[in-house]
């Protein structure tokens, strides 16, 4: 400090080089921002030009459709409870598709993740292979598998279920194996010393350590899968999505049914969203409490 005040020239040097650095940094971030803004604007214009209707032409009509639906639903408000009852089985199917797919996908993910974590893998040489399997199952969009299976198996919930399960296996497998990496290897050594085989080591040594985190990720996935299951229904895989498509294609006159389904889907998603975030909080905090 004292040194600096005695050499005002050096202070100026330092200040000058600091300001130069700041200037350069500002220039770089400025250029990055500019490129980003240009990308956004040109991308937006491009998308708008390839669209059926333009953005500015459509923005005024944004509330037309919702207000039509709301108006018709309001005028037939008395029939709403009946619609809820009619479409409840379809909603149940949508939720069931998501639940089974999450369950099966999570079980596959557990196996895949254990096989692809360093230190735990049954066949260490095949770690790379199992990782690629997860990458690919994660990358294939559900709609692809669903549409192909619909062609072979016919419509219904099973194609959607398989499609979502496959994607879930890859997505959860990656998250699970990240959790596994943090598991302590000491219980495994203990189990190995008493002659436990691989399955026993995993079940008794690893699963108790990682189960809360696995469960928390699986709950989050379940919530995502409900949305996916509704969308797949829309392309022909049954459930509420399919009923919604039929009602929407019918157009005016069945807007009250579409409205009822919108409400049901919304409430279901919010319901499971709240439940899953509540339990995830509990699981994660419970795990923290133990430490």
């Amino acid at each position: 400090m004292a040194d600096l005040t005695q050499h005002p020239g050096r202070v100026n040097d330092i200040q000058a080089s600091y300001m130069a650095q700041v200037g350069r940094k500002r220039l770089y971030s400025g250029i990055t921002m500019l490129v980003f803004v240009l990308l956004m604007i040109s991308g937006f214009n491009l998308a708008s030009s390839r669209n059926g209707g333009s953005f500015w032409g459509g923005i005024d009509n944004f509330f037309d459709y919702p207000s039509e639906v709301v108006a018709e639903a309001a005028s037939k408000a008395a029939e709403m409870p009946a619609h809820f009852a009619t479409y409840f089985p379809a909603l149940l199917e949508t939720v069931n598709i998501a639940a089974v797919a999450t369950l099966i996908g999570a079980l596959m993910a557990i196996v895949l993740s254990l096989l692809s974590t360093r230190g735990l893998a049954r066949f260490p040489r095949l770690i790379g292979l199992f990782r690629r399997v997860m990458d690919i199952t994660r990358a294939v969009p559900e709609i692809v598998v669903a549409l192909i299976l619909i062609f072979v198996l016919g419509g219904g919930p099973v194609p959607a279920m398989i499609a979502i399960a496959i994607h879930t296996a890859g997505a959860l497998g990656k998250l699970f194996s990240e959790v596994n990496e943090n598991a302590s290897l000491k219980p495994l050594e203990g189990l190995e010393s008493v002659g436990a085989n691989w399955t026993q080591r995993m079940l008794l040594g690893v699963v108790p350590q990682v189960a809360p985190n696995w469960l928390s990720y699986a709950l989050l996935r379940f919530e995502i899968n409900i949305r996916a299951s509704a969308i797949l229904g829309f392309v022909g895989a049954g459930g509420l999505g399919y009923e919604l498509k039929v009602a929407i294609q019918w157009g005016q006159g069945r807007f009250d049914e579409a409205g009822a389904m919108f409400i049901m889907l919304f409430l279901t998603i919010v319901f499971f969203d709240q439940i899953s975030s509540h339990y995830r909080d509990k699981l994660v905090h419970g795990a923290k409490g133990k430490e």
Binding site: A47, R138, E142, L153, R227, F266
Partner: protein, 438 residues
């Protein structure tokens, strides 16, 4: 977790804990099994095998790695045409044919391994080795008149009065009153690079490479790019549109969500009412779901990539808002205090005290969503009619171009893996950069 009470009988307590634990370990699999049994019947899995269409599956799988060339004769006019996959785009020009078809008054089709089919002026013959010569005559009044070398027909010949279909390992012959058709199967994807009208069709790789170097590169690439059968140009555009949808949607959502997140964070929004309203807004847009937004937006903006981008944008504004506001609530106050002690105004405090803390976390979340939205954009594109999702659903609905479906799926998987790789790479760099900065 359960504490043992030392004053009581330890053995009894331990046993009761063990019992509970054992019950638990059996109860959970039992519940799962019961649920799966319920689903097994609710989804009608036993009926699935009855509904499953094995022919569809077979044609799908064989179409994935092979294609067929049709040699068709119109029985009335006698015209013979050769077309790959029977499509107009794959038809050989009038009077030309591949080497194994010899056009003339009598057309001779060599299916190799001794299988020879001829289309004569009057008779159609099929010579199958180790079986004999079959002759057919098509007449207006009597249908298809056939002459077989055996009395009892083997099961690979399917004959009725007006129709004969013969399937051998070399190919297929089908004769009806109106037309005679031979299908010969080849392994591979047909005309992937050049269609028949391109001068480069059928050239070897060496020859092509020679032409490529000697100044015909533009013509060669343009022939590939404009391939009518595979439409490489449209496919690349569609992939680009899908990525564009994901990019616009994710970035737009992030830009909208950032200022709103400040209103929803406990430590930045002093007014409870504002906080509550913003949070419920996030819950609402997230809860309405991309599907419903897609439907509503399609009505307003029509079909296309913009609609898809907006659907992603609106849904993700809710997700980002929630994530960002949680990040903001975990911000360290010390840095803000430090900035404040230098006399900084509120906006400056945000800029220098808050933004540097949250940038790495935010960017990493945005990148993660960008990758996952590339996949969502395929699905949304199938509904809003933009990008590769549209091409994919169209190809699947026609139920015959499975090789194109494979092509699109491969491209989608490659793009998604690429985005995954880029986003993972950037996220690791961000986190590392963050550590070195401290």
């Amino acid at each position: 977790m359960t504490m043992l009470d030392a004053t009581q009988d330890l053995r009894a307590q331990t046993e009761s804990i063990f019992r509970r634990k054992r019950l638990f370990t059996f109860a959970i699999p039992a519940v799962i099994l019961a649920y799966l049994t319920y689903i097994f019947f609710a989804f009608d899995v036993p009926g699935l095998w009855a509904r499953a269409n094995a022919d569809n599956a077979r044609s799908l799988v064989s179409d994935l790695y092979s294609y067929k060339t049709h040699v068709t004769r119109d029985n009335r006019s006698g015209n013979v045409s050769v077309a790959i996959e029977g499509e107009k785009k794959g038809r050989y020009p009038e009077g030309t044919a591949p080497a194994w078809v010899e056009l003339g008054e009598t057309t001779v089709i060599d299916l190799e391994d001794g299988h020879i089919i001829t289309y004569g002026p009057k008779l159609i013959t099929y010579d199958v080795p180790d079986f004999g010569l079959m002759t057919f005559e098509v007449s207006r009044s009597r249908g298809v008149v056939a002459d077989y070398p055996v009395d009892v027909l083997p099961e690979w010949i399917n004959a009725s009065k007006n129709r004969v279909a013969i399937t051998t390992e070399a190919g297929r012959l089908s004769i009806t009153r109106n037309r005679t058709e031979v299908f010969r199967y080849f392994t591979g994807w047909e005309l992937f690079f050049f269609t028949l009208d391109s001068p480069y069709h059928g050239m070897g790789f060496g020859e092509l490479a020679g032409k490529f170097v000697s100044g015909e590169a533009g013509a060669i690439l343009s022939d590939i790019w404009n391939n009518k059968m595979w439409r490489h140009k449209d496919v690349v555009w569609a992939i680009f549109e899908t990525v564009l949808m994901a990019f616009l949607g994710t970035m737009g959502a992030a830009l909208l969500a950032l200022p709103l997140a400040f209103l929803a964070a406990r430590n930045f929004a002093p007014l409870v009412a504002v906080r509550f309203a913003t949070r419920r807004f996030f819950d609402f847009v997230r809860g309405v779901d991309a599907l419903i937004w897609t439907i509503v937006l399609t009505r307003a903006f029509g079909l296309g990539p913009l609609t898809g981008a907006l659907a992603i944008l609106i849904t993700d504004t809710g997700s980002f808002g929630k994530l960002f506001s949680e990040t903001l609530e975990n911000v360290d106050d010390k840095q803000i205090e430090g900035i404040r002690s230098t006399g900084a105004k509120p906006l400056q405090r945000y800029r220098f005290g808050v933004i540097p803390q949250i940038t790495p976390v935010l960017l990493s979340q945005i990148l993660y969503y960008l990758e996952s939205n590339t996949r969502s954009a395929t699905v949304i594109g199938a509904i809003t009619g933009g990008g590769i999702g549209l091409l994919l659903t169209q190809a699947i609905i026609t139920q015959k171009d499975w090789e194109e479906v494979t092509y699109y799926i491969t491209l989608i998987v490659l793009v998604v893996i690429f985005m995954d790789w880029v986003s993972g790479h950037l996220r690791r760099r961000l986190i590392k950069g963050d550590e070195s900065g401290h």
